[in-house]
Symmetry: C2
Subunit: 453 residues, 2 copies
């Protein structure tokens, strides 16, 4: 029921993820149309008539980083509670109806947004839109709904985080990366705070953020834009906007002056690894050049077996079994650029880290290999075309962007921004971002490498 | 105008402070009386007739750790603004009147409290009490008061923090020590947040926390308790309580699982040093035994030239020019137990840290030296008697305690709790607190010890 990207796609699973996260094209710009209802609901329609299927998504500009201190986990909690009932749709009915009509539905929470989606035959769009609009304003929550779901979420936390040393470590690393910004707080919430979340907390969150003027509707697939607008007017049009929607201004970072290092020892760790994350700028509306360069940098350093880190650490030096880099600039506030390496048997993490830093220093010194850069550009073009071919992926790119400070125009400008990146841009971005003072280095080990001093 | 203990008495100045912070006795319990007014104001009177002087203090249960996320610095900002005017006492008049009457006044803000005090001839007590009561509820703040004072505070931050590499590093260390609790936020506030504090923020803070039912009055010196109560009734009695006072429940720490290490390089650092802090329990009402053992442990490890760390690192090994330990358990929430060492010329911080950890390991292994323990107990007794001799110090002990979750009875039980500590208690407390997973280690260096890897 939940996706927690920073947890799941973030440092946790980095050692195990192929790094092909280039994302976000929109070559078929003419297939994308938008409209806005008088109550503030923005909508994006992506036409794709090849199969008679539609993806219907509602994205709320409300994520874990919008939570009050001490109430961590409420964004995700509310996501769960949205599957409880309304006066016209009883608890559990939503997903049952979608399934009975051959569809699939789910939801996820990130630091910047909460999204709900269904994929269903395109002639059933009205069915899911009616129910989604209904629960935007009419959710009813009993005390027992909340009590039950709190237990479910605590179990989810047990399963996803507390049972996973990598996830636990990731929480500690994120908390060390951010000195002040709420991105340092886990999306699922700190256990002791989740335990204390109440029905009133949920109602406050729902009342404030779940409203047409805080949401973006995305309909992607075998639909006609005019029909979608008519339908949206019917179902979403009557909903009242919320008065609690202001600019999303969050506590920002002070200057980060001292590099941080964390060591985590847990016998459950199956494979030792070293991670490094640096505070990094996000994609900014109208100005995505730096984020584009960082996106290319991540690919160049860590994307695939011939990337700089893999070539050096895995192939040439045989110190690592894998290595990689990760950057996703779609965030409302400054995000991270991260690296990892997994040692071969017998190589100490400190030595692997030294080797990794040496590779970075050489890269900064010698610059970008033109042949590798040309190959990457070609691959990126192919990736963009591939991703653009999937209306569901496009819907996700648009939804993520417009709920993290970007616009439809930014999404459409992104492929060109990536293609415009030069070797010099990559090097300049690398020099800017690879600042140890703004970094966190993590050693995850099944047992201490050396006796505690 | 401000004391910021965590900043000033904390890690920042540790390398330069003699460690004799035993604090908090009350041998002359019969000289201490209390009363409570119907509007909720608690008062503590400490009689001392040896000199015709009185210390008048008001302590508010409102400190930096009670601030909302994004509003750091507002507690301290309000402290400054309390020296602006009321309808009957114009701006600047307060301190001018105190001074004109031969007195002295000041104020300070910590993470747990804000306090205002005056020392003046005892026959002028009514003068200062009248003015202090007046500004508890009648403060007026113009937009220009706020604008001016914001500049003053930013200058103060420049001077105390941004110009001081030790203070800057201390901020980064505190932020790394606490993953969730607001003790990780500096009392003076992050610069970018102080810049954004408004008149409304100040009025909200004032309206919520500045009220008789959120304050403790302490009068210490040449006074008669009955007279003080009569006077308090006259001046503080008519003030309305605030309805915004609830239990002080703050975001707590998740389990700390990974030790953190920070390196800070700044050419302005005059003397390199290494610090280590561990999350540590605070003094708890009715249960101060563990905190008492930690207090003794800090003295045993770092108090004076014959302490364990000094004897080993300074005298025997000649690796350090000084070393010490610090613990102050008067805090509402879990605090820190910290160590530091300053190397002699030519000793690397990593080696000094290794030596320090070796000393700790030996201490845990071999236990407390009985002769050293006996000497310490004798010295502690003397310190307690000395401190008890000063009504101003006692006033501070009581004020600090009762605004951080303790009671008058706890303060009076503290000397006995310290005296009851056994060698086994100290060792048990040491084993509990010296857990690297809950620790932060800091290296402060004028230049990097070795070329960046």
């Amino acid at each position: 029921m939940t996706r927690l990207p920073r947890l799941i796609l973030g440092l946790v699973t980095l050692p195990f993820l192929a790094s092909t996260l280039l994302a976000s094209p929109a070559l078929a710009d003419d297939k994308v149309t938008t409209f806005t209802l008088p109550n503030g609901l923005n909508a994006i329609v992506i036409e794709d008539h090849r199969t008679p299927v539609v993806t219907h998504m509602v994205w709320y500009r409300a994520g874990a980083a919008d939570e009050k201190r001490g109430k961590s986990g409420i964004a995700h909690f509310l996501e769960h509670l949205m599957f409880k009932g309304t006066p016209t749709v009883p608890t559990g009915e939503f997903s049952r109806v979608v399934e009975a009509n051959g569809g699939y539905d789910n939801a996820f929470t990130t630091e910047d947004q909460t999204a709900y989606f269904q994929r269903i035959a395109s002639d059933r769009l009205d069915l899911v839109m009616r129910m989604e609009a209904d629960r935007m304003r009419n959710l009813t929550l009993s005390e027992s709904d909340v009590t039950t779901e709190r237990q479910v979420i605590l179990e989810e936390r047990n399963l996803r985080t507390d049972s996973s040393p990598e996830a636990l470590f990731s929480e500690q690393l994120d908390a060390a990366q951010y000195l002040n910004h709420p991105y340092g707080t886990p999306t699922i919430g700190w256990r002791q705070e989740v335990e204390g979340l109440t029905r009133q907390d949920a109602l406050d969150w729902y009342g404030r953020f779940y409203a047409p003027n805080n949401a973006t509707l995305i309909v992607a697939g075998d639909v006609n834009p005019a029909d979608v607008e008519k339908m949206a007017k019917e179902f979403y049009g009557p909903l009242q906007p919320s008065e609690g929607i202001g600019p999303r201004i969050r506590p920002q970072e002070p200057q980060q002056l001292a590099e941080r290092r964390l060591t985590f020892v847990d016998p459950r760790i199956g494979q030792d690894y070293v991670t490094r994350s640096y505070l990094a700028p996000q994609r900014k509306t109208g100005n995505q050049a730096e984020a584009a360069a960082l996106t290319v940098l991540a690919e160049l350093l860590g994307g695939g077996p011939t990337s700089v880190l893999n070539k050096a650490l895995v192939m040439d030096q045989k110190r690592a079994v894998s290595a990689g880099a990760h950057y996703d600039g779609a965030a409302l506030d400054p995000t991270t650029f991260s690296l990892y390496a997994v040692p071969v048997e017998g190589v100490r993490l400190a030595d692997l880290e030294g080797a990794l830093d040496k590779v970075l220093a050489d890269f900064l010194d010698k610059g970008v290999d033109p042949a590798a850069f040309a190959r990457l550009k070609t691959r990126m073009k192919a990736d963009l075309i591939y991703r653009q071919d999937n209306a569901g992926d496009l819907a996700e790119d648009y939804g993520s962007a417009v709920t993290s400070g970007l616009t439809v125009a930014d999404v459409q400008a992104w492929p060109a921004a990536l293609q415009a990146v030069t070797e010099d841009d990559v090097l300049a971005a690398a020099k800017q971002v690879l600042d140890r003072r703004q970094s966190v280095t993590g050693f995850a080990m099944a047992k201490a490498e050396e006796p505690a001093k």
